[in-house]
């Protein structure tokens, strides 16, 4: 919607006026479908040359991982272990790899690109002085990360299927589960990055958050193999919930626990989104 002339707020219908007041007070996100579409349109146009990165994440990295870990290491594991409940190691780690790459990708995208848009290149500063609202910008920023990862996750899922990983048709939902995991990391990471003016802490995030989570979220071995304390810490990370969810979809062993996994990740998305909104508003207003 584009206003063409200054108009008195008093002439607006009451319901629209109430909705506006609620949005102005921050009680309801100020999102117009057209605003969000324009945001995505801009990003897609800009992304025309950047799609190759997704192919690396979606195809190349799972192929390499599956060859090395699934087949190379898996052959050894399968001959010596009964811990995985009769599942071949390749089938065990395949869904886990999908979930951990979601975690890695979501975190990385929440770090550097956020500071680039807010500070270094300042694209969002320019976008915010158009009819676009801050809510559209924040939801668009998170959504654009999710959307691109979804494309990679579809490729990833296809690769896993080609390697014979899934045992169940439920696995067609794996890209959604992985994208949820990705967003559960992206949203809080964006909130963190929006408070930063440079990237000097980002390698620490990679080293002390991403890599430990990749190793200890149950993607390569059951967390019950960890010491009790570590096992419980692992169960509080959204990456563990993401791994479990993807694995249950692959094996068709769904239960109410999976609703819990979805809910847990969703909570990270919602809280991260709200914190991002605060952080991004502050970063752009100063």
């Amino acid at each position: 919607m584009t206003a063409t002339s200054p108009k008195s707020p008093a002439t607006e219908p009451l319901d629209r006026s109430t909705a506006k007041a609620a949005k102005a007070a921050g009680l309801w996100p100020d999102i117009d479908r057209s605003g969000l579409l324009h945001f995505f349109e801009y990003q897609i146009y800009r992304f025309r040359k950047g799609w190759r990165g997704l192919v690396v994440t979606g195809i190349l990295s799972p192929v390499l991982f599956l060859l090395v870990m699934g087949i190379g290491l898996g052959d050894m594991v399968d001959r010596n272990s009964n811990d995985l409940g009769g599942v071949a190691y390749l089938s065990y780690i395949g869904p886990g790899l999908l979930a951990t790459s979601a975690m890695q990708w979501g975190t990385a995208q929440g770090l550097w690109p956020t500071v680039a848009e807010l500070k270094w290149e300042g694209g969002y500063r320019a976008a915010l002085v158009t009819p676009l609202s801050i809510d559209e910008l924040v939801v668009g920023h998170i959504g654009w990360i999710a959307l691109r990862f979804f494309a990679a996750a579809v490729m990833f899922t296809a690769v896993l299927t080609a390697f014979g990983v899934p045992d169940s048709w439920w696995f067609v939902l794996a890209p959604f589960a992985a994208t949820l995991t990705c967003t559960a990391f992206a949203a809080p990471t964006i909130a963190f990055s929006s408070t930063r003016s440079d990237d000097h802490l980002f390698p620490l995030v990679q080293r002390f958050v991403v890599i430990p989570l990749m190793l200890f979220s149950g993607s390569f071995f059951p967390v019950s193999n960890l010491p009790t304390t570590l096992a419980w810490i692992a169960r509080f990370t959204p990456s563990w919930h993401g791994v479990e969810l993807c694995r249950d979809l692959a094996q068709g062993s769904l239960s109410y626990a999976d609703l819990g996994h979805v809910g847990y990740c969703l909570a990270f998305v919602v809280v991260g989104w709200q914190l991002s909104r605060t952080g991004i508003s502050k970063a752009l207003a100063s």
């Binding site: 108009k7 707020p9 800009r46 300042g122 320019a126 002085v129 158009t130 009819p131 207003a285």
Partner: protein
């Protein structure tokens, strides 16, 4: 009114960036906010762009309330921020076209408008180039073109010519004049006195978040200092003690700077004659027209670049 501010304040934690300022910009006027770095100019601008909410006070932009009608206001604003935030991954034309889409302008209209604006800012021959290799002046012009894609009623320019060479500045001023002729209201911040004198119908001088003076540039010079300034240099030695007395005799005001002494006089040459008759012989003298720089100095006791 294009902009109306009453008792506007902006706090960042304990820091008071804008401290109860009131001003109004009638439609069609070019209004400047002048002041040194940290005076509160940019904070004021951010409130007018609706991006930063005021801490207290009343602000109305194009007759609307920025807290409620931000989206509608921004649809009618053209904003030229302090830094050129252009999209380096797109060509010059694409920067304009894709930005237009944020305003809901159709592709066809956006493309036509982009060509028209590139012509206006004299960048037509660079339309398909990427942004990166453009000169500072070209980037600034592109940023200005981008601020005009929606035919704004009010254009906000934050330090529009900072860092540009004189030729680029004059070209930019000329384009801004033409916008003004088209009836667009302009609100600009600057710390360049000549810029404010060149462009502004009226201005406020800000210092420490407050308004130190307000009026038309010529009026401000008239009320706050004399028509002319006599600059005296005394080389390595200090100004002689007799200077103060001689100046007081003639009823003139002076400002002593580290490298020179300024004497405000309606007739600079006559003032110099008077000093010479009192046996004061500076090593260098210059009589010039008083500028807003002198107004600022008179108002605050500091020069702008301090």
């Amino acid at each position: 009114m294009a902009v109306e501010a009453v008792d506007l304040t902006k706090h960042f934690g304990r820091f008071v960036a804008v401290d109860g300022i009131s001003f109004s910009v009638p439609v069609g006027e070019t209004f400047a906010i002048l002041g040194p770095n940290g005076a509160g100019k940019s904070s004021t601008m951010k409130m007018v762009t609706t991006v930063s909410p005021a801490t207290s006070g009343h602000l109305s932009i194009l007759g609307m309330d920025p807290r409620r009608d931000g989206r509608e206001i921004r649809a009618l604003l053209g904003v030229v921020p302090q830094e050129d935030i252009l999209d380096n991954e797109m060509s010059v034309r694409e920067n304009l076209v894709m930005y237009s889409r944020y305003f809901g302008i159709s592709w066809a209209a956006a493309k036509a408008k982009a060509d028209e604006l590139l012509d206006f800012v004299q960048l037509s021959d660079r339309a398909d180039d990427t942004v990166e290799p453009l000169s500072g002046g070209m980037k600034r012009r592109l940023t200005i073109a981008r601020a005009l894609v929606n035919d704004p009623s009010l254009v906000l320019l934050d330090e529009p010519t900072t860092g540009l060479d004189p030729q680029a500045r004059h070209l930019l001023w000329e384009r801004l004049y033409r916008l003004k002729e088209q009836g667009v209201s302009l609100l600009l911040t600057t710390h360049y006195m000549d810029e404010a004198e060149q462009l502004a119908d009226r201005l406020i001088v800000m210092d420490n978040g407050k308004i130190a003076a307000e009026g038309a540039p010529s009026k401000l010079i008239e009320t706050n200092c004399a028509n002319e300034v006599l600059e005296l240099r005394f080389g390595a030695t200090k100004a002689p003690a007799e200077l103060a007395q001689a100046v007081a005799e003639a009823g003139l005001r002076t400002e002593v700077l580290p490298d020179r002494t300024l004497v405000y006089a309606d007739d600079g040459d006559a003032a110099l004659e008077h000093l010479r008759s009192r046996d004061i012989h500076p090593t260098g003298t210059l009589v010039r027209r008083a500028t807003l720089e002198d107004v600022f100095l008179a108002l605050t006791g500091r020069s702008l670049d301090e």
